[in-house]
């Protein structure tokens, strides 16, 4: 670093603890024979350091160490040498352990209680990737810091001896001791802990005990944890791993929807490297778009939302992509029942520039191509490149591209008549559906001062959906050919452009301040419908763009009020402009903990949230046809208020963690389709198809995790209620939300039988979802015809209440076994998975329409229950490798 040369002392736990035996005059009276008689002051001092165990500590920016000096005597003491090099009237020496601190007199003389800042990045030593959430604690003062999203930390301590303990999940604890004089940059590389690497227990925050952090309803999952869970078709799914946590519902069987604490699927802020992802599903919701090999970590927040997050009501899923190994090339390849994937990472310029690229594609269409005209496939691509210009500046580029595409083809041909009168006719119908997202993001980390870290993000993201139906017919006779075609297209898309500036300010070890601003331009085309047909003009509805502009500001401080009370207070302010309307929302956030004893704390939180986008979703399935729509003059933003109260308990030695949380959430301005309205009516204005209403959810969540010998896992239980009230639905009466599940149980276990054989199992149980069924049928008049009374023979169905019935409860056991083997060029793993082991027919939906015939006088109703995903075994092959390190 230019103009500010500092001595950085980094020691490992075993080798770098300094001996404290030599102090004071003993140190200064050591006799030396000069090995260098002419050289710079720095070189002279280095020669002394080589002969002794003395370390000189100085600020290179304040003392000119390049000055050339001559040492002509044959033998001298350290004292006499220093007197010769540093005149006593200008300099002074302070002895700390084996260190001699050189300081200039009358200039910046500090008292013993002066403070200085230690700052830097915590990285994974093997990969060079930054480590978020690392704990850095000075054992002497008890003060500490946590590395931020980019692995940066800043810890201001009293000058003097410090003894830093650096710890991160799955790595060896590092201890660094030195004498702190001035601000010092200290980058720490964490070595993997072979014992801990195998598997780690899910945790609220493993490094800071859960009872000592203000986070509530927050759970971090690592890539290892996600990949260890049994998965449908062996395709590991980030979202499905989240569904195993208390307070999180999955929607219908096998889907990758998220319903958090009674909220809807649109109320989750799903961030990939900080950019919201609108569509999270491949395969019509049965797989998520996130390739687990490209994901570094996942954080789920269900309550106590820190002020830096905003824009959704019910949860934040904050995912970071892998940065790419900065030390050596490596990669992973997978082949599963559902898709195949490959991830490559490595340095472009060692320790400066690295990349990660991951690609995945389903291949059922390739296998089935010769059997059918129909096809379906999805693919996704993740790319990340980062470059470190200096310790002060680093730039990241991230990109995601994903698409799904399906096609159905039908054709018919026939001949009418004979000989010259024969007419040959044929028809072809092709239906296509295609949707996908793209995200590009550039981030610039800049260290303004050791206490002030900034990040500037520029992002561009798109989501688009298109469905097309093509019909072609042709009739060929001897004298004439008649053709007819019709092409019906519907599409929707969203384009977001965002600029965001975030700051992390560390004024004091007891305060960690975050603040930032953001401006977003959203462009919506919610529902474009087009018709192109022979012999009629082209028609296009709703092709206009809707532009909205959103600004956000946030400020939060996580601070220690007293030895027993820690608080995180903040505010998120947001403003949205659309057409002639604008909405402003000031959202206070607070989370406070009281440490009852060293293992147990009481926590409480308050969060207000606002959401400027709605999702028009059909009630049965999560399909890409779900429309993201902005707030408008008619449709105001969704809002929520959530209160939480809970206990957090941990016994670090036994690996036990327990949280018990209660929550109460009020939601306003929710939208629902009007009775009878649905996504199929594409040519109607969406604003005319919806009702506005309220929601309320409350419940209790228990989460217990434990690591015990070769076993580890967790148990989650949720007791919850979630209701909705809409003036024009259910005659204004409250009704249960579709995913109002009273009881939800998750049991997750892993058994490490041997170092290379692992067994995993999940068992899930959920109360049946709420459905609307007719209980009775009856006759009723259909109207008035003048003076005539007329009865209509068609009976009506009486739906006593919206969502008044329950489907059967759902439960399922999934298991998997992993067999790992070291190979010459890497490590291969066979993963055998059985989804739904005991073949439970979990209900997905119940068809309540007449299933036989309508005879004109009465309905012949039957309830037909559909189940997906019966027992499904699969095998996944996985191969990971690392190229040998080059010199």
């Amino acid at each position: 670093m230019r103009g500010f040369k500092v001595l950085i002392l980094i020691f490992s736990m075993r080798s770098l603890l300094l001996t404290q035996s030599l102090i004071g005059q003993v140190l200064l009276e050591q006799t030396l024979i000069p090995s260098l008689q002419t050289g710079s002051i720095k070189q002279i001092l280095q020669s002394v350091e080589e002969q002794t165990n003395i370390t000189f500590i100085y600020d290179g920016g304040k003392i000119d160490m390049s000055q050339t000096v001559e040492v002509s005597i044959k033998e001298y003491t350290v004292q006499s040498l220093l007197d010769h090099l540093f005149p006593a009237e200008e300099f002074q020496f302070i002895i700390k352990g084996n260190g001699i601190i050189l300081k200039r007199r009358n200039q910046d003389e500090k008292q013993e209680n002066d403070k200085a800042t230690i700052y830097g990045y915590i990285t994974d030593k093997e990969s060079g990737e930054n480590l978020t959430g690392t704990s850095i604690v000075d054992k002497k003062s008890g003060l500490g810091a946590i590395s931020n999203y980019y692995g940066y930390y800043s810890l201001t301590l009293p000058t003097g001896e410090v003894n830093l303990q650096v710890s991160f999940i799955g790595t060896k604890r590092q201890t660094v001791s030195f004498v702190l004089v001035n601000d010092v940059s200290l980058n720490v590389g964490m070595e993997p802990d072979d014992v801990a690497l195998e598997e780690v227990v899910v945790t609220g925050n493993k490094l800071v005990p859960i009872q000592e952090t203000t986070e509530m309803g927050t759970i971090n999952l690592t890539r290892t944890q996600i990949q260890s869970r049994p998965a449908i078709g062996g395709e590991v799914d980030v979202i499905k791993a989240l569904q195993l946590l208390p307070g999180v519902q999955s929607g219908i069987e096998g889907s990758s929807g998220l319903y958090v604490r009674g909220g809807g699927p649109d109320q989750n802020l799903i961030l990939l490297d900080g950019v919201p992802v609108y569509n999270t599903s491949h395969l019509f919701g049965f797989s998520s778009v996130f390739n687990s090999d490209a994901i570094n970590s996942v954080k789920l927040i269900k309550g106590a939302f820190p002020a830096r997050y905003g824009g959704r009501l019910s949860s934040v899923v904050d995912m970071s992509m892998k940065e790419g190994n900065a030390v050596q090339m490596g990669g992973v390849a997978n082949i599963s029942f559902m898709a195949s994937s490959i991830m490559l990472e490595g340095p472009i310029v060692k320790d400066k520039t690295s990349f990660m690229v991951a690609a995945r594609r389903s291949f059922v269409d390739l296998l089935a191509g010769s059997f059918t005209d129909n096809e379906y496939y999805f693919y996704d691509l993740n790319l990340k490149v980062n470059h470190r210009f200096s310790d002060k500046d680093r730039v990241y580029f991230s990109s995601y591209l994903g698409r799904d595409s399906g096609q159905l083809n039908e054709s018919q041909s026939w001949v009418e008549g004979v000989a010259d009168e024969a007419i040959f006719s044929r028809t072809k119908t092709r239906s296509e559906v295609d949707w996908g997202s793209a995200i590009s993001l550039v981030r610039w980390n800049h260290l303004i001062t050791p206490k002030l870290f900034s990040n500037l993000s520029l992002s561009y993201s798109t989501y688009d959906f298109e469905a097309e139906n093509n019909f072609f017919s042709e009739s060929i006779s001897k004298n004439d050919t008649l053709t007819e075609y019709q092409r019906f297209i519907t599409s929707s898309d969203i384009v977001d452009q965002s600029i965001k500036l975030d700051f992390d300010y560390f004024p004091h070890p007891d305060h960690s301040v975050k603040f930032g601003i953001q401006a977003v331009r959203h462009q919506f085309k919610p529902n474009v419908v087009g018709l192109i047909a022979s012999e009629q003009p082209d028609v296009k509805f709703n092709a206009l763009n809707v532009i909205t502009r959103e600004q956000n500001f946030y400020l939060e401080d996580d601070f220690k009020v007293s030895r027993k009370i820690i608080a995180n207070l903040g505010v998120h302010a947001a403003r949205m402009q659309v057409s002639n309307a604008s909405y402003t929302s000031i959202q206070p956030r607070a989370s406070i903990l009281y440490l009852i004893n060293k293992n147990l704390s009481l926590k409480t939180s308050y969060s207000e949230m606002a959401q400027f986008q709605h999702l028009l979703t059909n009630p049965g399935l999560g399909l890409p046809t779900d429309l993201w729509v902005p707030v408008t003059e008619k449709v105001p933003p969704q809002e929520s208020t959530q209160y939480s109260l809970g206990l957090a308990y941990s016994l670090p030695r036994s690996g036990l963690e327990l949280t018990l949380e209660g929550y109460y959430k009020d939601m306003n301005n929710l939208i629902e389709y009007k009775d009878g309205a649905n996504f199929l009516k594409l040519n109607e204005d969406w604003q005319d198809k919806i009702n506005l209403g309220k929601g309320k959810s409350y419940g209790l969540e228990l989460f217990v995790s434990r690591k015990w010998k070769k076993f580890e896992g967790w148990f989650g239980y949720t007791l919850a209620w979630s209701n909705r009230t809409f003036k024009e639905i259910n005659f204004g009466n409250s009704f249960p939300y579709k995913y109002d599940r009273r009881h939800d149980v998750n049991v997750v276990l892993t058994h490490h039988i041997r170092k290379n054989v692992h067994l995993s199992a999940n068992w899930v149980y959920g109360t049946g979802i709420a459905i609307t069924l007719p209980s009775e049928k009856y006759l009723g008049p259909t109207g008035v015809i003048g003076e005539e009374y007329r009865a209509d023979p068609t009976p009506l169905l009486n739906y006593e209440s919206r969502n008044g019935f329950r489907q059967r409860a759902s439960h399922r056991l999934d298991i998997s076994a992993s067999f790992v083997k070291k190979k010459k060029r890497g490590e291969r793993t066979w993963i055998v998975t059985i989804y739904n082991v005991y073949n439970r027919r979990n209900p997905v939906f119940i068809e309540t329409r007449p299933t036989q015939s309508f005879d004109g006088l009465d309905w012949n109703l039957r309830f037909k229950e559909y189940s997906f995903l019966s027992i499904l075994p699969s095998i996944t092959y996985r191969f990971s490798f690392k190229m040998p390190l080059s010199e």
Partner: protein
């Protein structure tokens, strides 16, 4: 768009299973169902039926032994007795007043119905004032609507009452000549046929009705409901589409001034029938009722009519 759904279903087909189930739907006690639309021009007729379990087949709906009492401004005015209207295909289980009681506008009417084995049901209504039809016109130029039907544009003009929310139903009955029989000389015998025209507008029930025909809807029902939110207090011309009448016939156009309860019942019952055959993913429609402890509708209306010859 239904093809999208088909694609979804095809994908999950490999692991899909369907099962006919008897869900645990409690067999609740049957309720009385009232069909009672009364006006000041005709004697009261009330239809009394019952609910049956949703899965029951060959259901009998009629209730023959009910006690049906009608009150005017809380004073008992008449009792109605079972007097079924029997046609070739069905029995209409209606109750009539023996004295031919006819309600009048401005009063509040309360209906109380008791029958053994059922909870007593009751409902109250008033008879709205008649709203005269100022004009009615139907074009003779047919337009294509949907895939099958030919229609014609029509319009009806009337003066809406100001400072109150009013609801209307429109019905058009066509009387036309039919020649199905022949006399002894082989000449066709002219007789009359009647049909109630199907009408069209936006069909989703809402109180902010789009009242102009917008070309999006198909012919569906023969009663058309609308509210006056967009034209409160105005002399209003309502444009709509109707099934093309036969030439040489006669159209009788009815404008019924109805209550909000009737409007809600009518729109929701129409929508339920429409949606029940269209899309399995739409939420079922709950039909409104103003019958306490029961189902159906008891409501007054003021009927106006106009007759037009079809050229």
């Amino acid at each position: 768009m239904k093809r999208i759904v088909t694609i979804v279903l095809a994908i999950v087909m490999c692991s899909c299973h369907e099962n006919l189930v008897d869900l645990d739907i409690e067999k609740s006690a049957p309720k009385l169902v009232i069909g009672g639309l009364i006006n000041s021009d005709s004697s009261v007729i009330i239809k009394v039926t019952k609910t049956v379990h949703a899965l029951q087949t060959d259901a009998e709906y009629g209730v023959k032994d009910a006690t049906v009492l009608l009150y005017e401004n809380e004073t008992l005015k008449t009792q109605l007795f079972y007097d079924p209207q029997i046609t070739d295909s069905e029995v209409d289980d209606v109750y009539r007043s023996e004295d031919g009681f006819t309600p009048s506008s401005g009063n509040v009417y309360t209906l109380r119905v008791n029958a053994e084995g059922y909870r007593e049901v009751n409902a109250s209504t008033r008879i709205p004032e008649k709203i005269p039809i100022a004009d009615f016109q139907a074009s003779s130029t047919p337009v294509q609507v949907g895939e099958f039907l030919n229609g014609v544009n029509a319009q009806m003009t009337f003066q809406d009452a100001p400072n109150e929310t009013n609801f209307y139903s429109i019905v058009i009955r066509e009387e036309y000549k039919v020649y199905n029989e022949y006399d002894e000389f082989g000449e066709p015998i002219e007789s009359k046929g009647f049909v109630t025209e199907t009408l069209s507008k936006a069909l989703i029930p809402r109180f902010d009705d789009k009242i102009e025909f917008d070309g999006k809807s198909n012919f569906q029902f023969n009663v058309l409901y609308l509210s006056d939110i967009a034209f409160n207090g105005q002399l209003y011309t309502f444009k709509f589409l109707m099934h093309a009448p036969n030439s040489g016939g006669k159209l009788t156009v009815f404008l019924n001034h109805i209550t909000k309860e009737h409007y809600q019942y009518g729109t929701t019952s129409q929508l339920q029938q429409l949606e029940s055959t269209e899309n399995p993913f739409s939420q079922p429609v709950q039909v409104y009722t103003n019958i306490e402890n029961g189902l159906g509708i008891f409501s007054g209306y003021g009927a106006s009519s106009l007759v037009r010859e079809v050229p």
